[in-house]
């Protein structure tokens, strides 16, 4: 097909050819083509088949307002051909067809439309009930448009960007561009978001004069040049706004061009002030078969020619409701399109300068006439026009019908931000009221049509945004307001008109195949509110998100209603305003996890890593999931655990002790130098949230540890619970500053004494002692004798940068004993054998200190400290109705251990297993469980349910803890 060449408005580069594969055949176009324009230029008229009725659908708008031109591109379904640029070698397939779009074997569905009234899936196939499973299978098969292979991988990079701005402007038409220039002139940082790939809005393709000698498109490009030169304006082209939230948070996504390093990127902007200048779209004209390929909107036909150099057809009829339609008819006639006639739905009110121009071109003009019916089995062949009363009719042969009822503003961003939309009888628009503070509307969406007034209203909005940023521009604003008042205000719009038709195939919504007959049905059934009619008929719920149905639906409902006081109101708009890939929302999303200082050597040693809260930790180092070898090595020899993830804190200052007394349940005044002191923290309900050890380093200076999970919140917790006290103390989170090695096992001392500069004998460094050593005279180590795993063990805290060296030194020193790593799994079994709890395993949110048997830590006589949880601990002290922590063994020692979390049942659920493992030391399974008080007595039978137990409950009995080394002499060795 021959392209119009040499037009100054073109946005394609005819010198460079591109091609795509479509439906197995190769098609050629030019650089700058979208998939839709390339295919249209090659003669494609039917792009897809509709959702329900499989009606042929073609190019209607050019901004993706409906799913008519959704295609499958390189295995990605539902790609909108209208705003997807052609890339060389693209493979495009039509979707929702059985066969081809021209010959679709499912086309018979259109004949069955009588069987699919509004909401049919709510009302039929339900009785008899046995039909439903069959019906559902077939409905699922036919529902939806494209299909996605589960194996498909999205190519390209998905990125995100958070550009900083003072003023954000949505829409780069004349108003938006003027607003940007006004704000940029005040040295503010301005961001301009434009959904099309270039600036200019509806100036961009029009040759009408703005001022003598200055056509609109040139004016648009003049403004665009000024913008591109302003250093403080950032322009995001091909960027659709998807969300608009309170405090001026704007979200959008940008499609990357071939020069960009991203396929799409998510854009999030927090601006001080926002200008919405989104302009208008066309309101579809409602008539019979208004969806036939060949029928398109004014802007579509006009831009197709002016921007892409493609004439929509050979012979056209216009049925329009706005001067833009007459202007397009004149322009397209001059470009070579033969025009049979122009029908204007308005009886009067058009620009008086336009009809003479039609006359001069011998184009018949029919004011007060409208298209009533389109003919043609698959594509448009002719059209019936009628006057509004339907008395007179006339048919015209044509392959193109430019149909549009009038304009309607694009209010999505304003509506999302919370503005209300009120119907305005003069313009026929839904105009925004109650726009949130620091947000302004400008341009055509306010009903303005005079190009100078549009630009000036943009300038005014830009200046108001400048004022929002705290700059004194009040005088300038008043000046512009006065100037604007002298220019033409909002123009009278076309009335809402429905051609006198039956409405069986008059589509309100293309995406969901909803006709005005469906709307009538819904109203006959009693649905009176637009919002409910939308849901019942599904009009406007498709991917076009109300682009087609949006404003016609409420207007049609209001017109059809007898009630005179019914104010039409558009249905609620929700983000995303346009369909957005989940990959775009996700962005790069680089995983962020913490690594311990010996991470690399843990991995090298065969550590099976897992994420534990923010950290990467080694679960085990052997193939055996029970970590038997690691456990036995600790029990009989010596092992090393990387425990660097423990929370570590310094607290100092005159009121440090008071702060500790506030959050720890014990009497922290007993914390002294050279010794570790174990205690726990509770919340206000007495539920235990953390445990750890503390020691005193100097006067009013303490070092304490928390569990891994609490490390991030401890400073916050202590400050929260002292927020009314104005105490003088300081906390430093040293969690990452120190690595921790737990050197455990009967041979631990023999290893340690080889490397430290101090005595480590049981007398010099007893159980619960705290000592500071130097290793090889260079590495400072804080050593604690603790017994979490129940053997002689030293917890060594070492500056993180030295940790790998200390690890290597200990490994070397322990070589003669075959020292070996152990991981979390081994530690879990080792501590279980000792009956030591891990908060979160042996407790949940509702578990108090008393419940897990640690009530003795609570020091009841420090009332003045107002310890967090103390009141609740007192109140729950003798509560017998609570779950208690018990130890258990299986009745049959040969049985396996129940799975963690299995419920304990006796008629109903009476508790659950916290942790249970096979104990290699005791040669039978042991476990801990939280059970109802009456089951907590020694030797009570516990019956345990597992999902797949088939009624065979596991039987266990309560036994005293600890299971292993009950007197604790091994950790005191």
């Amino acid at each position: 097909m021959k392209r119009l060449a040499g037009l100054p408005t073109l946005r394609v580069n005819s010198a460079r050819a591109v091609s795509i594969e479509y439906d197995g055949k190769r098609f050629h176009g030019v650089e700058g083509d979208t998939v839709a324009t390339l295919l249209y230029a090659n003669g494609t008229r039917i792009f897809s088949r509709s959702l329900k009725y499989h009606r042929p659908r073609g190019l209607y708008s050019l901004d993706g307002q409906s799913s008519n031109t959704y295609v499958d591109v390189d295995d990605i379904p539902n790609v909108c051909a209208e705003n997807t640029f052609v890339g060389n070698g693209m493979r495009v397939e039509p979707q929702n067809v059985l066969g081809t779009p021209e010959h679709d074997w499912m086309a018979f569905m259109d004949k069955l439309s009588w069987a699919m009234p509004a909401g049919f899936y709510y009302t039929i196939f339900h009785k008899p009930a046995r039909l439903w499973p069959i019906a559902v299978r077939h409905i699922r098969k036919t529902a939806g448009l494209g299909s996605l292979s589960p194996d498909v991988e999205l190519r390209g990079r998905f990125d995100q960007i958070y550009p900083a701005a003072d003023v954000c402007i949505i829409g780069a038409g004349p108003a938006g561009m003027s607003a940007a220039l006004a704000a940029a002139a005040q040295k503010l940082r301005v961001i301009l978001l434009e959904s099309r790939p270039w600036l200019g809005g509806y100036f961009d393709y029009r040759t009408r004069n703005h001022k003598p000698g200055m056509p609109l498109y040139l004016r648009g490009r003049q403004l665009a040049d000024q913008l591109e030169q302003a250093p403080n304006i950032r322009i995001f082209k091909h960027t659709a706004v998807i969300g608009c939230y309170s405090n001026n948070l704007i979200t959008a996504f940008q499609r990357g061009s071939e020069a960009d390093c991203f396929a799409e990127r998510y854009v999030q902007i927090r601006a001080e002030s926002v200008v919405v200048a989104t302009g208008c779209i066309e309101r579809p004209l409602l008539f019979e078969n208004n969806d036939r390929p060949g029928i398109m909107q004014i802007g579509c036909a006009h831009r197709l020619a002016r921007t892409w150099g493609v004439l929509a057809g050979e012979q056209a009829v216009f049925s329009i409701g706005h001067d833009l339609g007459i202007e397009a008819a004149i322009d397209l006639h001059d470009l070579g399109l033969s025009i049979a006639c122009v029908a204007d739905v308005r009886e009067d009110g058009c620009d008086p300068a336009l009809p003479p121009q039609l006359e001069a071109r011998n184009i018949p003009f029919y004011p007060g006439w409208v298209a009533a019916k389109a003919h043609g089995r698959k594509v448009l062949k002719k059209v019936t026009l009628t006057n509004l009363s339907g008395v007179c009719k006339q048919q015209f042969d044509c392959d193109t019908l430019v149909a549009s009822a009038g304009l309607t503003p694009v209010t999505g961003p304003l509506a999302l931000a919370g503005a209300r939309l009120e119907y305005d009888a003069h313009t026929g628009y839904f105009l925004p009221t109650g726009i949130p503070q620091k947000m302004h509307a400008a341009g055509r969406m306010l009903g303005l049509e005079d190009p100078t007034a549009i630009e000036l209203s943009g300038r005014l909005a830009g200046l108001r945004a400048v004022a929002d940023c705290g700059m004194a521009v009040g005088a300038t604003i008043s000046g512009v307001e006065e100037e604007l008042a002298k220019l033409p205000g909002p123009a009278r719009g076309s009335k809402f008109v429905v051609a006198p038709v039956e409405g069986k195939k008059t589509f309100v919504c293309f995406d969901e195949d909803v006709t005005i007959q469906n709307i009538d049905q819904a109203m006959r059934l009693g649905f009176d509110v637009t919002e409910l009619i939308k849901r019942f008929t599904s009009a406007g719920t498709g991917p076009g998100q109300g682009g087609i149905a949006g404003h016609n639906l409420p207007l049609y409902v209001a017109l059809t209603h007898r009630s005179p006081d019914l104010h039409p109101r558009p249905t609620t708009v929700r983000p995303p305003l346009v369909p957005t890939l989940l990959a775009t929302y996700a962005g790069t999303n680089h995983p962020m996890s913490k690594r311990t200082p010996v991470h690399a050597s843990q991995v090298a040693a065969g550590g099976v890593m897992e994420r534990l809260q923010p950290w990467q930790r080694a679960r085990r180092f052997c193939a055996d999931t029970t970590a038997r070898a690691e456990i036995e090595n600790v029990r009989t020899n010596v092992g090393m655990l990387d425990a660097s993830t423990l929370g570590k804190f310094r607290i100092f200052g005159p009121d440090a002790l008071k702060a500790l007394q506030r959050v720890y349940v014990s009497d922290m005044a007993r914390v002294s130098t050279g010794r570790m002191y174990y205690s726990a923290m509770c919340n206000e309900d007495g539920c235990v949230i953390d445990d750890g050890v503390a020691t005193q380093i100097a006067e009013n200076d303490y070092y304490f540890t928390t569990s891994t999970g609490r490390a991030g919140e401890t400073s916050e917790w202590i400050r929260y619970h002292t927020r009314y006290d104005r105490w003088d103390f300081h906390i430093i989170n040293l969690t990452d500053a120190y690595g921790v090695i737990n050197l455990a096992g009967p041979n631990a001392r023999k290893v340690l004494e080889k490397v430290v500069d101090g005595a480590v004998s049981n007398e010099a460094f007893p159980f619960l002692g705290f000592r500071e050593f130097m290793v090889h005279g260079a590495i400072p180590v804080r050593a604690m004798r603790l017994g979490f795993v129940g053997e002689l063990s030293f917890e060594l805290h070492v500056p993180s940068s030295y940790m790998q060296s200390l690890w290597d030194i200990l490994e070397e020193a322990g070589e003669e004993f075959a020292i070996w790593n152990f991981g979390l799994e081994a530690q879990n079994t080792l501590r279980l054998e000792k009956g030591h709890v891990i908060l979160g395993s042996e407790s949940e949110q509702r578990t108090t200190l008393h419940d897990i048997g640690l009530g003795f830590f609570w020091h009841r006589d420090k009332l003045e400290a107002q310890t967090v949880g103390a009141v609740a601990l007192k109140q729950t002290e003798n509560d017998t109705s609570r779950l208690k922590l018990v130890g258990f063994k299986m009745e049959e020692p040969a049985a396996r251990a129940p799975r963690d979390g299995s419920p304990i049942v006796a008629e109903r659920i009476r508790g659950y297993v916290c942790t249970a493992r096979y104990s290699y030391a005791l040669k039978e399974p042991v476990g801990m469980a939280l059970v109802e008080g009456y089951l907590a007595k020694n030797a009570t039978r516990l019956t345990i349910f597992e999902d797949d137990c088939k009624g065979e409950l596991m039987k266990a009995k309560v036994v005293p803890m600890p299971f292993y080394d009950p007197t604790g002499k091994r950790m005191r060795m």
């Binding site: 927090r270 206000e684 309900d685 400050r719 006290d725 609740a872 109140q875």
Partner: protein, 87 residues
């Protein structure tokens, strides 16, 4: 959530940087002679104002400060305190 919160140290920031610390209910009552119900009320009973309420927030991803702000719960927007309004 598009809420912004003004930290007294770091200024206006995205609400995601903060942790909610509940309504400002004043310091906890003295433990001596406190009934279980009175304590429970202090901890768990909230006024749930539909309108402007004073509440605690912590700038957890920033400077770590606890502070209080006024927030209009019906609009989820930070507002100036009632003393500066002509109510």
């Amino acid at each position: 959530m598009a809420l912004t919160i003004t930290c007294p140290i770091c200024g206006k920031r995205s609400g995601y940087e903060f942790r909610f610390g509940g309504e400002d209910k004043g310091p906890p009552p003295q433990a001596a002679g406190l009934t279980p119900a009175a304590w429970c009320d202090y901890v768990h009973r909230n006024n749930c104002v539909a309108g402007v309420q004073k509440e605690w927030w912590c700038h957890r991803q920033g400077c770590g400060t606890w502070f209080s702000i006024y927030r209009d719960t019906t609009k989820n927007l930070e507002v100036a305190g009632p003393q500066s309004e002509d109510v």
